[in-house]
């Protein structure tokens, strides 16, 4: 057993770790509501920086782009990732190497993936734009959706697939009426995770974006603005992006109890 002093020491360490993790974020959220806008002095509560965001055309445009990228890449990755997960579970015999190949995009450093995708697109002579960001986001999101759905499939009772067939259903009917509905919580969880990852992804989007304003996403816009110093507007924007991500992630975890990638 741990004695009292050691226990208190451990609690203290835990507190320090949490402080280290969350103080910067709290400061950011706090400053986004600071009337004066300076990080040095609190001059009162205000939502004016959020209002300023709404008036900033560049930011709204970038937010629109991000939404388009996140929605399209999520839908594509969810459909493909789910089918991939089901296919892999049915044909388990191929063993470990197939798993490694599928999960590689989750593990490969983003910068490597970004350079690889850039080279790939230029090799094919594809014109860059939002569509190339979407395709690139599908690449890594697919692996995440697949991992979440496969975790659910581990406890899937395959006899209901046979039962559906036995009762006269063709393969696609079984998929639509039995497999997908039973997996739906995991599919939605995977989609939310993919959406979150896509919304704040910077490196890959930066490398595979086209020239000009038409394919600037929100993280890229923030990066561009931050070169002129951290403005209260950026704090407000970061707070919004963070809230969206946290909500989506929390919902995803809630829907899919147990079974995050890698577990």
């Amino acid at each position: 057993m741990v004695d009292r002093t050691t226990f208190r020491l451990m609690l203290l360490i835990l507190g320090v770790v949490f402080a280290f993790l969350y103080i910067p974020i709290s400061v950011l959220v706090g400053l986004s509501f600071n009337e004066g806008g300076l990080p040095t002095a609190w001059t009162g509560f205000s939502v004016k920086w959020y209002a300023a965001l709404l008036a900033n055309d560049d930011i709204l445009h970038a937010a629109g782009n991000t939404l388009v990228v996140a929605l399209f890449s999520t839908v594509l990755a969810t459909v493909l990732g789910t089918l991939l997960a089901i296919g892999v579970e049915i044909r388990r015999r191929n063993g470990k190497w197939l798993e490694t190949v599928i999960f590689a995009p989750m593990i490969i450093p983003d910068i490597v993936l970004a350079i690889a995708l850039l080279s790939f697109f230029s090799l094919l002579g594809v014109k860059m734009g939002l569509h190339t960001i979407i395709v690139s986001h599908v690449v890594f999101n697919l692996a995440f959706v697949c991992a979440v759905v496969r975790a659910r499939l581990k406890s899937f009772d395959w006899s209901i697939v046979e039962a559906s067939t036995d009762l006269g259903a063709p393969v696609l009917t079984t998929l639509r009426r039995v497999v997908v509905p039973v997996l739906m919580p995991a599919i939605i969880a995977g989609a939310l995770l993919a959406f979150t990852l896509s919304v704040d992804e910077f490196i890959i989007a930066f490398f595979t974006a086209g020239a000009g304003r038409s394919s600037i996403t929100l993280p890229m816009q923030i990066y561009a603005m931050i070169r002129f110093g951290v403005t209260p507007e950026i704090n407000a924007l970061a707070t919004i992006v963070m809230s969206v991500s946290v909500c989506a992630l929390a919902l995803s975890q809630r829907l899919n109890k147990g079974g995050l990638p890698g577990q």
Binding site: D157, S159, I160, E162, A163, S164, T165, D166, L167, G168, A169, P170, T173, R177, V178, P181, V182, M184
Partner: protein, 353 residues
């Protein structure tokens, strides 16, 4: 062969180098309640899954009402399977589970709902039609699984260990219930079970399987009273075995005694074999052609009857005798008592060792 409704012809199934089902031929009659009985690994479930279409045939053919169904996929066969795990759809209600198969047949809505409510009535679950499977007890789930397969009115209903997951009391109720439903719907049932008592109670005919092959096919009475092999004798019910050798004088036990038997099965000269007799055919006292003395080792009280375990010189394992309650009342046997067991020649079975 003319009365064969479902004809299984020389079918085999190999999984790699393992032969799960080995050259099985069976003719099953219309409206028959047929049981495939065997221990786990005997190939009975593989055979059932071959009939359902989930396993391809390595050899042979399956003919239903004169037409081969061997090449039909499971969803095109006029045959339904009730799964051992029930395999109910967890996201659908009881009613939705049952109507699923009828929707696949593209029946009109009105007929589907009529047939669903009819079968819900039969299995007495009308009040639970809107429940999900995880809100049902094991027995209720079992009945939903049965209804879901039965409502399609298949030509043959295959049941994989249908009562395996139920407790003992519910199981004996459902044995009779299954029999009632089978005769009411007039559907041919093929049941896979490892429970010999279940097979004896429910089936019109039983096939005993061992190592992928059929050992014996017959009515419950045939199988119980006239086992054709030592395995069948041992597998069904309780049987006492006594090692014997065939000599010119007859069957000789290890202590030099004789056993008389009135069976057609004969052993070759000087060949070791076993004589066998059922516990309920043994009597206390000298009333049969065969007689042996021994000491009572243990007494097991079963309510309806007593089972005496008697150590005798003719067998290594104690001989079990079943004595009905009223006989036991007058004899009051005790542990350590010396008793004479006897049985008649017609109750002796003979098998090669």
């Amino acid at each position: 062969m003319s009365d064969a409704f479902l004809s299984i012809r020389n079918i085999s199934k190999n999984f790699g180098s393992v032969r799960a089902v080995s050259d099985v031929s069976l003719d099953i009659r219309e409206n028959e309640f047929f049981a495939l009985l065997g221990a786990s690994g005997s190939g009975k479930t593989t055979l059932l899954r071959m009939l359902a279409g989930f396993e391809t045939l390595s050899a042979g053919d399956v003919v239903l009402q004169g037409g081969s169904i061997a090449d039909l996929p499971p969803n095109k066969r006029p045959v339904n399977l009730m799964f051992q795990s029930y395999a109910l759809f967890p996201h659908m209600t009881v009613a939705q589970n049952i109507s699923y198969g009828l929707e696949m047949d593209r029946l009109p809505r009105s007929e589907i709902s009529a047939r669903v409510s009819e079968i819900l009535d039969v299995i007495q679950l009308s009040e639970l039609a809107r429940r999900k499977p995880d809100q049902l007890s094991g027995g209720q789930r079992q009945r939903v699984a049965l209804a879901r397969a039965l409502v399609k009115r298949p030509k043959v209903l295959l049941l994989d260990e249908p009562l395996g997951a139920l407790d003992k009391k519910l199981r004996s109720e459902m044995q009779l219930e299954l029999k009632r439903l089978q005769s009411e719907f007039g559907i041919t049932f093929i049941v896979v079970t490892h429970d010999q008592e279940e097979a004896l109670v429910m089936a019109d005919r039983i096939a005993i399987m061992k190592d992928g092959a059929l050992l014996q096919v017959g009515t419950p009475h045939d199988i119980y009273e006239r086992p054709e092999s030592r395995f069948a004798a041992d597998f069904i019910g309780v049987m006492n075995f006594v090692p014997v050798t065939q000599t010119a004088q007859g069957l000789e036990t290890s202590d030099g005694g004789r056993i008389s038997a009135a069976t057609t099965l004969r052993l070759a000269d000087q060949i070791a074999g076993v004589a066998a007799v059922r516990p309920e055919r043994l009597h206390i006292g000298d009333v049969g052609e065969n007689r042996v003395e021994g000491n009572v080792l243990a007494i097991a009280y079963h309510g309806l009857d007593l089972q005496l375990h008697v150590k005798t010189p003719i067998a290594d394992t104690p001989i079990v005798a079943r004595i009905t309650a009223n006989v036991a009342d007058s004899l009051t046997p005790k542990i350590g008592d010396r008793v004479t067991l006897s049985w008649s020649a017609k109750d002796t079975h003979i098998f090669p060792a």
